[in-house]
């Protein structure tokens, strides 16, 4: 033990020099700053399937906006040529009433996208607020709000639409009302789960000690940190809504003639399957393509937002 002490003794003060803290150097940072969203965008771009999904959706949206406006035919014009196969004149053929299927497909895309976007907005407004309030307040408020969600999610969407059709005229409105009643419960559940994990993090406590109101907490801390989960849920709600619309229209509970939607077109196309298969093929194809694209984007977003999940 003594010997060891001697080796320590060999170090003399002359061997050391006080340099002092190099504060100027220690607090310098790399010039470039990468924000969270830039990183997400970078990872998203790596995913080929997701990027092609975005392209497909962009093209479908553009065609839905412009084709019905600028085409020489209208979705309701009966042109006198019935069940004609796809040709130079009519790219997707015509139907049994002599209407141009190409224009009708893009007109139908409007309805589908409209339903999808409406579902997303309802999700955002009702679902996110409901979930954040329920999670943040907790206790009895949370209990009551979540039981309401449980009850609503136990009612099938189809049933709500059929009940609404008893009192209302057939069309888009009952579908949207039914969506507003039941469509957001999934989002509310997911947001609530996120809020429960975020609200006990220290930065939320820090904001509370600064005197933040609950509204301030929701807007500044909880929603920005739950945004990833919200976005992913939304991209998966949209295709579900589109599919539901198509399904209801196929059953004859959707929009009225002569308005086209992919579901009604597929339903009518069923009748002429042997003579004019394109009448079923095109709307069915675009339903599948859109839903596929939305799911690809949703998966891509989820992986980009949380790269740990993938492995």
């Amino acid at each position: 033990m003594e010997k060891r002490h001697d080796t320590y003794g060999e170090l003399t003060p002359e061997m050391f020099r006080v340099v002092g803290p190099r504060l100027a150097e220690s607090d310098q940072m790399p010039k470039k700053t990468v924000s969270f969203w830039k990183e997400v965008w970078y990872r998203f771009r790596q995913n080929k399937l997701a990027v092609s999904g975005v392209f497909i959706l962009a093209i479908i949206a553009l065609l839905a906006i412009f084709v019905p406006e600028f085409s020489q035919y209208s979705y309701r014009d009966q042109l006198g040529v019935y069940n004609e196969a796809p040709s130079k004149e009519h790219w997707f053929g015509t139907d049994d009433l002599g209407r141009d299927v190409f224009v009708r497909v893009w007109y139908g895309a409007r309805i589908s996208l409209f339903i999808g976007i409406t579902a997303a907005i309802i999700d955002l407004i009702i679902g996110v607020l409901w979930g954040s309030i329920s999670g943040l307040f907790g206790g009895r408020v949370d209990d009551i709000m979540m039981r309401i969600v449980d009850i609503l999610s136990a009612i099938p969407y189809l049933l709500v639409v059929i009940i609404l059709l008893v009192v209302m005229e057939q069309g888009l409105l009952p579908m949207i009302i039914a969506l507003s009643i039941t469509g957001w419960v999934n989002m509310a559940r997911i947001v609530r789960g996120e809020v429960l994990s975020i609200k006990n993090r220290e930065f939320v406590l820090a904001a509370r000690t600064l005197g933040a109101s609950n509204w301030h907490l929701i807007v500044r801390h909880i929603i920005p940190n739950a945004l990833g989960a919200i976005l992913v849920t939304m991209t998966l709600t949209i295709p579900t809504a589109i599919f539901t619309e198509a399904f209801l229209s196929f059953l004859g509970l959707g929009v009225n003639q002569p308005i086209a939607s992919w579901g009604t077109m597929a339903s009518e196309g069923m009748g002429g399957l042997r003579v004019a298969p394109w009448r079923l093929f095109f709307p069915a194809f675009f339903i599948s393509l859109t839903i596929f694209a939305f799911n690809a984007v949703g998966d891509g977003l989820r992986d980009a937002l949380d790269p740990k999940l993938r492995k």
Partner: protein
């Protein structure tokens, strides 16, 4: 330090969690006071209720029983929103984990300026920016750091942002909840020295919560030792460090590692055997200004042991 003026008085503070029939007694009836301008160190092992005490005082939890009187006002009985906001500006908190206490989606400038938004201060954009920069500079950062996100900073820098946030509303009293325990040893000194400097400059009062006794002795004027939700010993820092009376304090002090390899080798740990304290236990003052928790007999026995 102004020994005549008590800035904070805690009387019989009690904080239970869980069902009332079988509660978890996180804080079990503690009383102490803090003088204006002093630092009171609160030490104890993990789970003894140190952080809960801090959070109960600042009003993050609804307390089970007791009173917290800050500048003559009972903190938990303030009803009006205006008064509550005024209190928040007076009393602030620095958090333990610099990685969890900053919102990852906000820049350093937004984090420091958050208090201004909440209290509607510095509405003028330029004035606001200047104030944020002066706060950044006060904690040894600079204006370049304003637009950066928390993940770009090191642990020590993050903790300094947390300190700047706590200072943003010009408080007079700060609860520092283990502000250094998540940091590297080399950075701990930096942050503690910063806290000391700020205390002198701004005449701050600290409640400094930690489990590192040597660090607490360095920064505190007085030390309170907490064990199982109770304060078992309270007194001047030097007195507690050199003349501990309660066996738990002795055991805690014997566990402090020494930076000298020879002394460290000779250091003997004193194990603490838990002694149930009967209901008659209370705070006794065997030496003026030095309080020990226990029954009269226990305290007499401990004082004799300490004198030997």
């Amino acid at each position: 330090m102004n020994k005549n003026h008590k800035i904070l008085e805690v009387k019989n503070l009690t904080q239970y969690f869980g069902p009332p029939s079988n509660p978890i007694k996180a804080v079990d009836g503690i009383s102490f006071h803090i003088y204006e301008g002093e630092t009171l160190g609160l030490v104890g092992e993990s789970g003894c209720g140190k952080s809960t005490t801090g959070r109960s005082i600042i009003g993050l939890y609804n307390i089970t029983d007791g009173e917290v009187i800050f500048k003559g006002q009972n903190v938990h009985q303030i009803k009006s929103k205006k008064e509550k906001k005024r209190l928040k500006r007076e009393m602030q908190m620095i958090f333990q984990d610099p990685y969890a206490s900053l919102n990852p989606r906000m820049t350093a400038g937004e984090i420091i300026g958050e208090g201004f938004d909440i209290h509607g201060l510095y509405k003028n954009k330029q004035e606001r920016q200047e104030k944020i920069i002066s706060l950044l500079e006060a904690v040894g950062l600079n204006r370049e750091h304003m637009m950066r996100y928390p993940h770009e900073f090191s642990g020590g820098q993050r903790q300094r942002i947390g300190i700047a946030r706590a200072l943003s509303l010009d408080p007079s009293f700060i609860i520092a909840d283990e502000p250094i325990s998540a940091l590297d040893v080399s950075i701990q000194a930096q942050v503690v020295n910063l806290l000391k400097e700020l205390q002198e400059e701004r005449n701050l009062t600290y409640l400094f919560i930690a489990h590192d006794l040597s660090m607490v002795k360095y920064i505190s004027d007085r030390i309170a030792v907490m064990y199982r939700g109770k304060i078992v010993e309270l007194g001047e820092a030097e007195e507690i460090y050199h003349h501990p009376i309660h066996p738990y304090t002795k055991s805690l002090l014997s566990a402090v590692p020494l930076p000298d390899p020879i002394l460290e080798r000779r250091r003997k740990r004193i194990p603490y055997v838990h002694e149930e304290t009967p209901d008659t236990a209370a705070m006794h003052e065997p030496v003026p200004g030095h309080f020990v928790y226990g029954t009269e007999e226990q305290v007499r026995k401990w004082v004799q042991q300490a004198q030997r």
